[in-house]
Symmetry: D2
């Protein structure tokens, strides 16, 4: 009898962070993959991640719409509630032996709660890291609901253990997102041109001449400032006047403000060096990154994958505050001049060495091996 | 402008644990109480706690049905989901400045999630304690979602701080449940007769001649064993043949098994010394306890209030495992003979001193004072 | 390719009304049965109908908890909402070609709405009948959502057609509930003793000496009067002092009042001739009925099955107002004296002939045959 | 004591259809308005109608997010379910004496079900009309749930009565949407220029030189054809090469396809005569219409308001099939050539007389007067 491992994927970022685990589970002779796809991973307007997942050869066992439209604080809470209800029914039907929950989003805690109340052992990926926003609360709450912890590095493991988790069930596997980064690094990725495969909107330019990448999400705990925050970044990009690929934000409280800022900007300005994408495959996104002059914004990609890729990063604001970071990252506030200054320095600075801070590229296999071996327990007790 | 403090009460036990806080908030010149009553606190079949609350002079600002019937693992998860959805709407309307969540139940985490995603500062009562069952996971997860912690004793405070909470926001107030116990201790409670006010079902007897009290809940992580577990206790009570007040369990996964066990037993046996109650007011329940020979079961009352009351307790199984306890508690397994032996010893043992392990009777005022003073922050970061 | 027919069963009564259709679909070479069981059919406290269904050889394809506890007006509405959400997901997975919805309950309209918005052709059983209570609104609303109508008799068909339904899609099949009645009539049912198989609570007596049966539900549109209404019937039964089998009501707004009335009565009176049942199998219930002196209450069974069985009925109040009835039915108000008088007359009156008013016992086969043949359309238009 | 009348507004179109009723209730000395705003009326991406409503001087008593994102069949069903749950809680708090539900959308039936199960008398506006799509099923189902019917014309009244409704509770008031049209007709609306107040996207042109208006929704019962259907209209508009204002569709199953078709088209073509709007105020939309050469699409506005305004209409496909229409409407299929031909004829045809087919401009006052007088009943029974 194979162990049934259920993975819930709900967003673009979650897939990139767990893809090599899916592959390793699928290949493993003693594991059976149960795949649930839901939330924004299904939605046209975020670039449907489910299409990418299917192209990669994974067929979902269940599909679940759970996003209440509105992209504000109330609808995020409500989406969490619907997620709990629906995932309870799904887990009750699929009867997995372990559920995997990834990172720190509202779908992550919905998954964790449904699994916990159904007495299903829960494994968490990306515990023990530190950030800002509501994510910080949710990540550690999920740690306390989880039975097994697959963490990125020793520091994360120490935090999880200090929170009272059993050290025998905390495993430093590296983050699976780095596995993909390692793959891209090992291939010939020079001269990657996203226009060959993706459309997007906005101006076209020659990526071989150098470009920036922007990915900036709302910070839900600074919800009302989301519009101002994105406007500063937009102003900086206009001043920089450098070819730029801009990615639309996640579905989160405040995304509507961010999107509104971008749309207002697009209506007011006709910028010849700005192109917008909704979604690239995880690998193509990394190919785009590794060839870029600088990543700007507040995505965790700017802390984790870029540390391995050695890509310069200008990290804006509080979203990634506290997360362990490499020398490639410069932190700035929501201030157009600070952003401009930092990006200019990065454009001039050509190279950062690859760092293993978030993993060495073998997290997927390690996690799959551990999923075979961990005891199927649900009971736990704080260690002090 | 008074600070609006929203308290969500969802069960018999939650009310007893927070009542003196409600009183202190109501009396406080700088605080405004917003009261939400939901879940089993509304339900006839658990003895509607809302009637008791109203009799005590509190009028709810909102009432919300959220229990999906079934009393099993799936319906508990679903009830949590509905709780999140409904409480999000309610908090969005009431716009409290602080939300208080009590203990470790599924409604507790539903409250915590709704408040967190709505960017409302969250205060938690009863954090840092250790138990078995799903409660253990949920209690610490709620700690990680909370901004302020009102804990029972120094040990609990230490655990909360070791989990990475800011020590400036962890307050040893004592548990408000002890406030009520202290009130009862200070009054003349001798010869309390519940038959004067409550009906219940089963045999009647003279409480002045001595009696036992039983309160045993299902352990959700041992869900399938619930029927067996209650049968052992029932068998012990039959053998003991001592006047006994038995309380029906909470609404939880497994409650149906417990109730079934009790019903089957009642149909099979005609026991002349057994009386069943659904619900007494918190104070009357304590009056009954303080005059009893022994409390049997696995309620947290058997660890906390009884330590102050000095009532002998036979605690059964894993539900309270790890919780700091006084000398009044004897732990036994799910074994009728062990239960009989332990109870006999307790009946013979007449007295335990009152202990301040869970508070000194002034938690309510302390918490109200702190609710005025704590900074209204939502952002937090693990301290290591 | 067999046509996939999805039937949703949610209550004791719904199963009795559709069982022979399930059998006929299961046996049919061109049909595939998809069975969904939910709501009170899963709940211990109503006597879990799912056990009876499984014993009859039907295995559910999906099971869904959807009852919000409270048994009042608000929780009925909420249960409907949860039913719509959950059934949408289930139908989306099962992808039936026709969905069957039975009668006029809140689960019936939840089923109808989920199927309609999913563009699945909808068949309705028991359309075109007339009653009181909220059922009357819901039944005709479901007719307007349905594509195919399997009705009990010519009068019902005429009403459905007059409401603007296509007469080519209205089929007088008889009601499947009569199929079971016909089976019982054709067997030797004399001297049926329910005590051989069922426990229940209350007094025991010899059923061979004659007995009454009571089945009285709350009338949701007269919600607040539910307690008074049941008290009148209880008082009548006490005065009659005749052996009586009493069945607990459905889960509906007001059931809590009815149950409360019964419980208060049981605590106050010790009646030696009254026995309570939660649930018998559909066939055993009919065996009990056919040997009874009189059925008392407001169940539709007292109008439909009894007309075929020739059992005397005293129908109380407005719940069945307007429904076509046989000569076996005497209508009375909520008045203990009227009830007593009417029942005494019935006890003395020994016999009514069997009537085909609601069917001839072959509805199941007819419906299965039609389910093969009806065009799979979802579009419809009022005929005038 | 004023009668409390609760109106639920959930979409752009619903507001236009009920605005004069809101005004009349608000002015009425014996009525109190309770306003609930929800669903797409709150959503940025549909042009938040709530802003328009507030500007008109109406403040909502409750606001409720209920749209599950996805714009497909499953999410429409789920949104209905959430609507029922949330509206049940809201009605339970507001305790209105009558609830008004408008037209035939999923929010309409969610409103109707919540009110019905809460025993609140229900008034329906726009019953008795005939169309295609799921709306046809839903409209008549809502009629059967409603107690009072405020219909547009005699034919509609006849249909409602033939469905078995009490003719004393069916009132020919005219449709309130015509009240607004009458207001616009009575003012000097010549030379209305939307660019003065609204931004939108796409090309600008001089509206004084003549223009077309397009408003085409998906037909949910022809869900999969939505993309093809919109592409035919887009192709026709390109060929016509005439200045055109295009409105984005409602949130409905298939809207994603329609939006996708429009976006693909915009990326592929740079059309100098096409401007896109999300939302105008109801009055401004009518001003735009009355000055247009032709309205193209499948909105009910193209049948009702235009008949009063005397605006030429080319109605495409099945969505409005069966609805009584004036001479101003030409029906065509989903065929670019047929559309082109019909529109060219309309552009040349300068004038249609105003018709009272859907009302005379006094529906609002009539409905408010009736809301005072109708008996507050919930019970009803089919009349045959």
């Amino acid at each position: 009898m194979k162990r049934k491992i259920c993975v819930v994927i709900t967003a673009r970022a979650s897939y990139a962070r767990i893809k090599t685990v899916l592959e390793a589970i699928k290949c493993h002779s003693e594991l059976e993959l149960q795949l649930v796809i839901g939330a924004s991973a299904l939605l046209e307007r975020y670039g449907p991640v489910i299409d990418v997942i299917r192209k990669d050869g994974f067929e979902p066992d269940a599909v679940v719409y759970m996003v209440v439209e509105g992209e504000n604080l109330v609808t995020t809470a409500k989406s969490t509630g619907i997620g709990v209800i629906e995932l309870a029914t799904i887990f009750d039907n699929l009867k997995p032996e372990i559920v995997i929950s990834v990172a720190d989003r509202y779908e992550t805690i919905a998954t964790a709660i449904a699994a916990s109340y159904l007495n299903i052992p829960l494994a968490h990926v990306q515990g023990g890291e530190v950030t800002g926003s509501i994510d910080e609360k949710v990540r550690h709450a999920v740690t306390k609901l989880s039975n097994f912890h697959f963490v990125a590095n020793r520091k994360a493991a120490e935090r999880v253990i200090r929170m009272g988790e059993d050290e025998n069930l905390v495993f430093v596997t590296g983050c699976p997102s780095i596995d993909l980064a390692a793959r891209i690094m090992s291939e010939n990725h020079d001269g990657y041109d996203p226009f060959e495969k993706y459309t997007g909107t906005g101006s076209k330019f020659d990526p071989k001449l150098g470009y920036l990448v922007v990915l900036q999400h709302p910070v839900t705990t600074e919800y009302e400032h989301s519009l101002f925050q994105i406007q500063e970044t937009l102003a900086a990009i206009v001043s920089l006047a450098y070819p730029t690929f801009w990615f639309w934000p996640n579905v989160d409280a405040g995304s509507d403000y961010v999107s509104k800022g971008i749309r207002q900007f697009r209506e007011a300005h006709n910028v010849p060096f700005l192109h917008f994408f909704k979604n690239l495959s995880p690998e193509d996104f990394l190919r785009l990154l590794v060839n870029s002059k600088c990543l700007i914004g507040n995505s965790s990609v700017g802390i984790r994958e870029t540390s391995y890729l050695g890509v310069p990063v200008v990290n804006i604001g509080n979203r990634q505050i506290g997360r362990d970071r490499g020398t490639n990252v410069t932190d700035v506030g929501y201030d157009r001049n600070a952003i401009i200054k930092a990006v200019r320095e990065k454009i001039d600075n050509c190279f950062y060495p690859s760092s293993n801070l978030y993993g060495d590229g073998h997290a997927g296999e390690r996690i799959a091996d551990l999923l075979c071996k961990v005891p199927l327990i649900i009971d736990k007790r704080i260690t002090y």
